[in-house]
């Protein structure tokens, strides 16, 4: 049995013992977190398990190799315990090591006196408990207590009311009028211009705008462009900003044109 290969399953570590030792020596694992008693138990279980399999269930006899393993294990665990103890009480150990015998005696006397006082106080509590042993009282859940009032910091009530009034007033409704862009469908103007050109061969665009709003004028212009795209009309303008003249194309033979004309 090799002690170094002892498999451990501790709360803070899982793996072989030699890996644990390596990690401890490299200070990659905090020895304070390692349960040394758990290591001892794992070793004993391993030892008993081996003995049972070799000697039968009821016999537990250590062989020479096991005795060697036990010795090796004892040395390792002792070292671990010493390391752990030093880690846990390093400051205190250093403090005491630096003291002269007289100072150490004084420190020890101080500690003993503190403990002595504790023992005396505990004795007083014991006697008190004996005196009070015929005192019976009700024990139960915490009593209902008056609700704790939590007054707010002092404030001028008028200022508080004014602030609350502002919060309580519903805000003005936001106007969305500018977003309601209403305009007639393009087709309406397309039909209108077609009807117009069914009776005559040309018209001035401006004359047809009449009382239309700016949006409607824009839609009417788009309708005109649409008719131009369909090659139903010719759009002419003598100069920039001059009146726009719309002429029916004599060559126009679209079905829309024919149907409009017949209508």
């Amino acid at each position: 049995m090799r002690v170094a290969e002892l498999e451990l399953d501790l709360e803070a570590f899982e793996g072989p013992l030699d890996l644990l030792l390596t990690l401890v020596l490299k200070e990659e694992i905090d020895l304070a977190e390692i349960d040394v008693a758990g290591i001892v138990l794992a070793f004993i279980e391993e030892l008993l398990g081996r003995d049972r399999s070799e000697n039968g269930a009821d016999e537990c006899e250590l062989g020479e190799s096991d005795l060697e393993a036990c010795g090796e294990f004892l040395v390792l665990v002792s070292a671990l315990l010493e390391l752990k103890a030093r880690l846990l009480f390093d400051d205190e150990a250093a403090e005491l090591a630096e003291l002269e015998p007289e100072e150490a005696a004084e420190e020890l006397a101080r500690r003993l006196a503190a403990y002595r006082r504790t023992k005396e106080a505990a004795a007083w509590l014991t006697s008190r408990l004996e005196q009070e042993q015929d005192r019976f009282f009700r024990l139960g859940p915490a009593p209902l207590r008056p609700p704790v009032s939590r007054p707010v910091a002092p404030h001028d009530p008028a200022a508080l009311a004014a602030a609350l009034r502002v919060l309580a007033t519903p805000p003005q409704a936001v106007s969305l009028a500018h977003m309601a862009l209403r305009y007639p469908p393009l087709e309406q103007f397309v039909q209108r211009f077609r009807s117009l050109l069914a009776g005559r061969s040309r018209f001035d665009f401006e004359n047809e705008l009449g009382e239309l709003s700016r949006v409607e004028q824009a839609v009417a212009f788009l309708a005109l462009l649409e008719l131009g795209r369909l090659d139903e009309v010719a759009i002419k303008q003598a100069a920039p900003f001059a009146p726009i003249r719309v002429e029916r194309r004599d060559t126009e033979r679209s079905s829309a044109w024919t149907s409009a004309r017949s209508a």
Binding site: A113, R116, A122, R135, L139
Partner: protein, 201 residues
Amino acid sequence: MDERPLRLITSSPLDALARTVEALLVVASAPLPLEDLAAAADDDVERVEAALRLVGERHSEGRSGIVLEHVAGGYAFRASREAAGACSRLFERPVQRSLSQAALETLAIVAYLGPCTRPEITRIRGVAAEATVANLLERGLIAEAGRDDAPGGAIRYRVTPLFERVFGLASLAELPRLDDFEGDAETIRERLHVVAAQRGA
């Protein structure tokens, strides 16, 4: 024993307040501080104090099976001592029962030095305090009181009002002074210095 008749029902305003105080103490299962009694009775602290004196007269050892006591920073009813035998046949006292020497020493440390941490208790007693602290916590005699400011921030413990009640203390100020427990500390010191002188020589 005082043979005066009990006058529990009178028309005096203080009597009415005393009856209210009695009622409050009956429904409470832990000592009620004077201020809490006054708030619940909706009356002055001074008048409640006077009413408590009246209640104390009525409920005292030898006059009543219920005794008023000032304990754990408040007022509470308890059974009279003469009824202790009967009470013990009906009830156990799990909080006080079999408190070990280790538990009493730990309790003494926490009562005198608290709030203090488990490592501090261990340092004074010289042995691990984990199980003892857990036991005292379970009994409700000590409670957590925040964490230490030092690195690691160990949990600090203090004694609870139940501790004061169990030991019959109106407050922790009733504990004897720790300095009074010097004992033979000086003898120990002298002996240690003799040993130190021998080793140093």
